[in-house]
Symmetry: C2
Amino acid sequence: MTDQPTKRPNLPLAGVRVIDFGQIYQGPYATLLMAKAGADVVKVEPLTGEPMRNRARTSKGAGIPLAMLNSNKRAITLDLKTEQGKQLLKDLVKQADVLLENFTPDVMTKLGVGWEVLHEINPRLIYASGSGYGLSGPDRDAMAMDLTVQAASGIMSVTGMPDGPPMKCGAAVVDFMSGIHLYGAVMTALYERTFTGVGRLVEVSMQEAVFPALASNLGMLHSQDGAVPPRTANRHGGLSVAPYNVYTAKDGHIAINAVKEVHWQGLLSIMGLEDLSDDPRFTSNKARVENMEATDALVEAWSSQHDRADIIALAREHRLPVAPVRDLVEVTNDPHMHERGMLEWIDHPVFGRIVVPTNPLRFHGADKVETVPSPEAGQHNNEVLGEWLGLSADDVAALKDDKVI
Amino acid sequence: MTDQPTKRPNLPLAGVRVIDFGQIYQGPYATLLMAKAGADVVKVEPLTGEPMRNRARTSKGAGIPLAMLNSNKRAITLDLKTEQGKQLLKDLVKQADVLLENFTPDVMTKLGVGWEVLHEINPRLIYASGSGYGLSGPDRDAMAMDLTVQAASGIMSVTGMPDGPPMKCGAAVVDFMSGIHLYGAVMTALYERTFTGVGRLVEVSMQEAVFPALASNLGMLHSQDGAVPPRTANRHGGLSVAPYNVYTAKDGHIAINAVKEVHWQGLLSIMGLEDLSDDPRFTSNKARVENMEATDALVEAWSSQHDRADIIALAREHRLPVAPVRDLVEVTNDPHMHERGMLEWIDHPVFGRIVVPTNPLRFHGADKVETVPSPEAGQHNNEVLGEWLGLSADDVAALKDDKVI
């Protein structure tokens, strides 16, 4: 890196102030990545805390997502139903670059603190809205959560066994996919603002954020002249690559995706079946697709006799696209992600020793951001209201007495 | 919007020039969103085209993803194994803001056009690398595709039936999740550059991009003191919400996630079972979780007697989080996404009448970007090499004769 022209910290979002009304997963993930890139993120919650605070009390592990997604943020409380609460928000907005919320559409507008009001107060503000179906259109007001959008978006229809029911993806891919889209939208508007001096209302719908990921399946739809594609379990969504499946190993499962002929040849070699390399059932991807059952049976007969680690070692040597199916104990202890600094063990004041992610966005050469465990609701009321608004400890105590914060 | 201080087009990324080596899904999705936000994206391919060009020839629908992900880009060809090709790239880099690639680590470095070389040529360049496991760590060189990273990341381990095999998500969530992370990383670096004047190497690993989406499942792991969580089919990943499942309807399936007590009460009301509101088996989420089989059976007995549309209409009226499980015919014809302009029917010169996405990132007040169908490989060789580098038609013809482009 060459010299920095100013004393700006060597972090991409140094100096950016974010008012974070994010709750559950979508919003908090977007603002987590902002905090990890150096922004000053202030999590704003009702006096009872965001919904995850309540959920955290239902089981030992239910608070882990809260801890995962709110590191490196400061937390304040604010009752937006009070006039003083609204005024405090307006004062904070004057100091802010970004406000992000993932309430249902119109919540903020009905409270009198929607985009138009806040844009008037601070034209530089970027206002980011995350919702299930977006701020317009006939489905705008439909209630949305990860599960229901997995249903409505088409993801469930292409997941699971061909003869089984539609199946969700076990990870909350809708919440997180839309959360990172929201991050991208805010960054784009921040960049634009350096030219225009003006912020924008940016918006992401959960449903729309996952649509593009159906690309292979939409190809299958087109191939079939518009007939609904079948679920294909672990086979290729377009049933047009083989071997492409999950196979049994002696101690679990492995996944193989033989994209190129060289992969098939390599696979024959590690299976000790080079004599099949001229077998017309298998000489091209097209042939193997036509003989998919036989192809899969061949691989399975071999893989089921070996441990995952032995298969992976051979595959690495031959540069074949093979991976172990890992469980969450293996994933959270993955030496690779720990060595890269993506995962960290921390001692959380509430949840104890847990694994948290740092930042999947890696900015080479930037300073390391040490993980600060997620705060309690309102933990930084004094600090933030003092720093941002110049309120004294007495001012803050009075607001607390009045149940404004 | 207030006055723009310059005649800059009213698009967030107006004036941003992107060299796009993206292939398959991850890279092209990131640069699609850049193009849709107003950037000048030039897709650079080997003379035989990126891998999707070849795949597009295997079945009628296999090219649909290519069409979906490359709208509004211009395309040139470049043989990076020739000296002239490398020099052309270096000349293009002098004119560019962003270079994005999702080759395996080191491909560009080995060709002599890696980050360090290009950063020297143009210190303002942002170089974005997408890969399976990132640019460092013991798994760096493992081959990666959506399927294999679904296996290695833990997603498969939490998807599917409790008594069935690990299951992939049918949508390519790993490719797309990492693609939009890459977009976010580039935008962050663009913003930072407006202060520092210097670009960065930014990096996203597919494995790391999907880890946070396991939040609920990681909570379950913690609840169980580190024992591997079971697959839960369509039930809550932490088995701590009920009703939370996919239920049979007369004409398909619906998904219900009763997050709050008011949802359960509303559900009893539309099921005509208000008399159960005092039944101790169901009076709290905790009680319903303990009686999950009975709770689910109650809902299923009702839902299976009704059509999806009738259930959804009732749910909307009571503001309940219920959604139909939609198939891809319904999704691609969704009146909501079409009305919002997220989906468009276009007449593609190669693929005919198809549905393509516009942009899940919505910048309110920005100009509309009309969809331009995805180009053929090298379609804009003359235009781009003329505009960016001042080459004449004769220069370009000579490069073509020499098989450099």
